[in-house]
C-alpha cells in the first residue's frame, strides 16, 4: 500500500518502513529519536531473567538526555499534553520540572528587566550627549 504512497515527498526522509517487501537497512533511516522513544519507553514490559530496570538511575539519566526535548518553550506556549502520559511523568517528576521551569522563567524575566533598564540608561546618556539626535 505504501507503494503508491500519496505523500512521497514527506514520507521520503523519515520512513521507517515501506510494506510490502522488506528493504534491508530501511529502519536505519528512521530518526534515532523516533526509535529511542519507542524502544526505551514503549513496548510491553515483562520481568526477564536478566533484569535491567529501566527506572534505574543510570538509565533514567539516559532517558533524560535522549528523550526529553526542550519542552520549556512548548510549555510556555501552553502545549503540555504529554504530561498526562503516565509513562512519561509521575506526579513528582512533573512537579519538580514545573518548579524548574517556573524558576527559569522568573530568572529570565528578571534578566530582561535588568537589560532593559541598563540599555535605556545608555540610550538616554547617548541621546543627551548628542543633543537629542535620532538615536533609533
Amino acid at each position: 500500500m505504501a507503494d503508491d504512497s500519496p505523500l512521497p515527498s514527506q514520507r521520503a526522509s523519515a520512513l521507517p518502513s515501506q510494506r510490502p517487501g522488506a528493504l534491508p537497512g530501511r529502519p536505519e533511516q528512521a530518526n534515532l529519536a523516533d526509535i529511542l522513544e519507542r524502544v526505551l519507553d514503549k513496548g510491553i514490559v515483562i520481568a526477564g531473567d536478566i533484569q535491567i530496570n529501566l527506572l534505574d538511575i543510570e538509565l533514567l539519566t539516559i532517558k533524560l538526555r535522549l528523550i526529553i526535548a526542550s519542552v520549556e518553550r512548548a510549555q510556555e506556549m501552553g502545549i503540555d499534553w504529554w504530561e498526562s502520559d503516565p509513562g512519561l511523568s509521575s506526579g513528582a517528576k512533573s512537579r519538580d520540572s514545573d518548579k524548574l521551569e517556573k524558576e527559569n522563567r522568573e530568572l529570565r524575566e528578571r534578566l530582561e528587566r535588568l537589560e532593559q533598564r541598563l540599555e535605556i540608561g545608555q540610550d538616554e546618556q547617548a541621546a543627551s550627549g548628542q543633543g537629542g539626535g535620532d538615536g533609533g
Partner: protein
C-alpha cells in the same frame, strides 16, 4: 553522525541534566523505598500465606524490591549465552525467523509455544547481564546500535503480521525460560495481539518556523502593533512591546494549529497518543516541533490517513507549518496497557 550530535549535545548540557536527573532519581528512590516498606509490611502480615511465588504476574513490572535484587548480584547471572527477546506474535504460518541479524549481530530465531512465537537471539554473558549491561547502556553509541538492531527485528516481524514488541533489554536465561513465559502469559499475549491485529502506528509531527509563523500570526490577527513612542528609550520600549505582542500572537496560532491537526487525526484514528516534542539535537529537525503524535490506524485505512495528513499540510503550509508522517511502525505506543 546522530551519535556525534548526541555527544555534543549531552556534553553541553550534562550539568543541568545531571541535576535534574538527580532530583528525579531522589523522588523515584523515595517512592521505591516507600513501596518496599509497604510491601515488607504486607508480606510480614501474610508470611504464612502460600503461593506468593515470584512469577505470579510476570507481565507486570516487578515490585521494586525484586527489581533491584538481580542488579546487585551480577555474578548470579548465567555465563555463556542468554536470549534477547524482541517480540511475540502468533504461531503457525508466517512464524519464520527474520532474515536479518539482531542485537550483537547474532542470528534471530524463533521459540514457539502454545500457539505463540517469540523472536529471540543469543546475547553473550556476562556482557548482557547486570552491571555490565547497565554500563553499556550509558554508552550512547552502544545504545544506538542496540536500539536500532532491536527495532529492525521488530519491524521486519511486523511486516509479516501482528507482533507485540518488548521493551529494550528483555533478556531470558534460555529458550526454555522463554517457552515458560509464552505458556504462562499466553492469554495476555493473545489478547494484546488481537488488539493490534490489522492495525499499524503512524507518527505525525508538526513543525513550524517560529519567525514565519509570528509574521503570519500578526498579519492575521487584525490587531496593530503598539505605537512607537518618542525618543530612543521610547522606541526601545515600543520594540520590546511589539516583540512580545508578536510572540504571543505566534504562540496562540501555533497552539491552535497543533490542536486542530491532532484533533482531526485523532478523530480519524482508532487511537492516538501524544508524545513529548523531540530533542532537535537527536532528531535533527529544524524549526519547532509542536506536535509529536502517534496514531493507531487500520492497515487498509493508512492511505486515507496519509491523504488526511496531506490535506492538513496543504491547509497550514502558508502559515509556515510543516507536517511529517512516518510509518508504518509496529504499534509500540498502543500495547502498553491491558487490552
Amino acid at each position: 553522525m546522530a551519535d556525534e550530535r548526541l555527544r555534543r549535545w549531552a556534553a553541553e548540557r550534562v550539568g543541568e541534566l545531571l541535576a535534574r536527573a538527580e532530583e528525579e532519581a531522589l523522588a523515584e528512590a523515595r517512592t521505591l523505598l516507600r513501596d518496599a516498606l509497604v510491601e515488607a509490611a504486607l508480606e510480614h502480615g501474610e508470611a504464612s500465606a502460600p503461593g506468593a511465588g515470584r512469577r505470579d504476574a510476570p507481565l507486570r513490572e516487578p515490585p521494586p524490591r525484586e527489581r533491584r535484587q538481580p542488579l546487585a548480584q551480577p555474578a548470579a547471572g548465567p555465563i555463556g549465552e542468554a536470549q534477547w527477546l524482541y517480540a511475540v506474535g502468533p504461531g503457525g504460518a508466517g512464524a519464520e525467523p527474520v532474515s536479518i541479524t539482531g542485537v550483537a549481530d547474532a542470528p534471530v530465531h524463533t521459540v514457539e509455544e502454545g500457539g505463540l512465537t517469540a523472536l529471540v537471539s543469543p546475547v553473550p554473558m556476562p556482557e548482557f547481564g547486570g552491571e555490565m549491561l547497565k554500563e553499556s547502556l550509558n554508552d550512547l553509541g552502544w545504545l544506538e546500535e542496540v536500539a536500532r538492531a532491536h527495532q529492525r527485528v521488530v519491524d521486519e516481524a511486523f511486516e509479516r503480521g501482528p507482533v507485540v514488541p518488548l521493551r529494550l533489554c528483555t533478556i531470558y536465561e534460555s529458550g526454555d525460560r522463554v517457552r515458560t513465559l509464552l505458556r504462562e502469559d499466553g492469554d495476555r499475549f493473545t489478547r494484546l495481539i488481537q488488539s493490534i491485529e490489522g492495525r499499524e502506528e503512524w507518527s505525525v509531527k508538526l513543525y513550524v518556523d517560529p519567525e514565519r509563523l509570528e509574521t503570519e500570526a500578526v498579519a492575521h490577527s487584525g490587531k496593530t502593533a503598539p505605537d512607537p513612542g518618542l525618543g530612543a528609550g521610547g522606541a526601545y520600549l515600543a520594540k520590546r512591546k511589539t516583540d512580545r505582542f508578536t510572540r504571543e500572537e505566534g504562540d496562540r496560532l501555533a497552539g491552535a494549529i497543533a490542536e486542530e491537526v491532532h484533533a482531526r487525526l485523532q478523530d480519524w484514528a482508532s487511537d492516538a497518543v501524544v508524545g513529548r516534542p523531540q530533542n532537535p539535537e537527536l532528531s535533527g529537525h529544524s524549526g519547532q516541533m509542536l506536535l509529536n503524535g502517534a496514531y493507531l490506524v487500520e492497515s487498509d485505512g493508512s492511505e486515507r490517513f496519509g491523504q488526511l495528513v496531506d490535506e492538513l499540510q496543504g491547509r497550514y503550509a502558508e502559515l509556515g507549518a510543516r507536517l511529517e508522517i512516518s510509518g508504518p511502525w509496529p504499534p509500540y505506543n498502543f500495547i502498553t496497557s491491558d487490552p
